[in-house]
Symmetry: C2
Subunit: 162 residues, 2 copies
């Protein structure tokens, strides 16, 4: 017999976990976006976020940025959603590690999606009209939800669907 | 002649930018850690951080977590440092996108590094003694510093040295 594990890394997914994950996806105003650079190494930067009309995370990204060039070459990405508060332990705040594929809007839809984003995040009006910016959706693949120490869940795409 | 760019993506690195980057590296109590999973895709999660005795970011990571297993297989990683405040536009807060290599402490040093971390981050005492946790340093390779919209800098390892 070996010693029992000191803390169970995963809990069974239930409706409470699904609702918490959905709330983090639609409520995030910013998040950490991880992408792959040309050499295959990871890069992570902060972006502004809002829910798309269908309820997946979306952003307006500058074509001049490292993350946009990376996503145009390889759409695999990850988002960390759920910012810690200014006080207290940042590891006790719920957060979602979302695996996703980036889908840039086609030109016919891009203008409408930019306007949708600016309606939800008025401060984005500063850059939403710049010619190098593009609207992008993050299509959820799976996620790891952490509701605090010892409260981890592995979610499938179906758990994350709007 | 083409139109001039609407905003210059990079500013020349100066001592003010280096000091801001160093402050974000040593002052961060948490950050977003991006790693590579087995399939080569990115994953990003929140970890607690403190400066190592030499002044690079370090953490205590659980061997049960996705990010630790990923780093043991491939040490390439990235850290987003500089949490936005509770109020205001999260994209106006300075942040550092650091490319790094994870270096797990060897067993002879691991106990001392755990104790160092707990001295700086007393709340880590809850998990620092668990048998699956390991001390890890993040050795800086290069970084992108963003001091707010239009204030971006590309920093080399020499700009980030303590």
């Amino acid at each position: 017999m070996t010693d029992p594990p000191r803390h169970d890394p995963l809990n069974p997914v239930d409706d409470t976990a699904r609702a918490l994950a959905r709330g983090l996806m639609t409520g995030a105003t910013s998040g950490a976006l991880a992408v792959l650079e040309e050499d295959g190494g990871p890069f992570v930067s902060r972006i502004a976020l809002a829910p798309s009309p269908e309820g997946v995370p979306m952003a307006l990204l500058s074509g001049l940025s490292v993350h946009t060039r990376a996503l145009m070459a390889d759409p695999r990405c990850a988002l960390l959603l759920g910012e810690p508060g200014a006080k207290g332990d940042p590891l006790t705040h719920p957060r979602l590690s979302l695996r996703a594929l980036a889908a840039f809007a086609d030109p016919a839809e891009d203008t409408d999606l930019r306007a949708h984003f600016v309606r939800l995040r008025p401060k984005a009006a500063v850059y939403a009209g710049l010619p190098d910016f593009r609207a992008v959706r993050f299509r959820p693949l799976s996620a790891s939800l952490n509701g605090g120490f010892g409260r981890a869940y592995a979610l499938a795409a179906s758990d994350l669907a709007p």
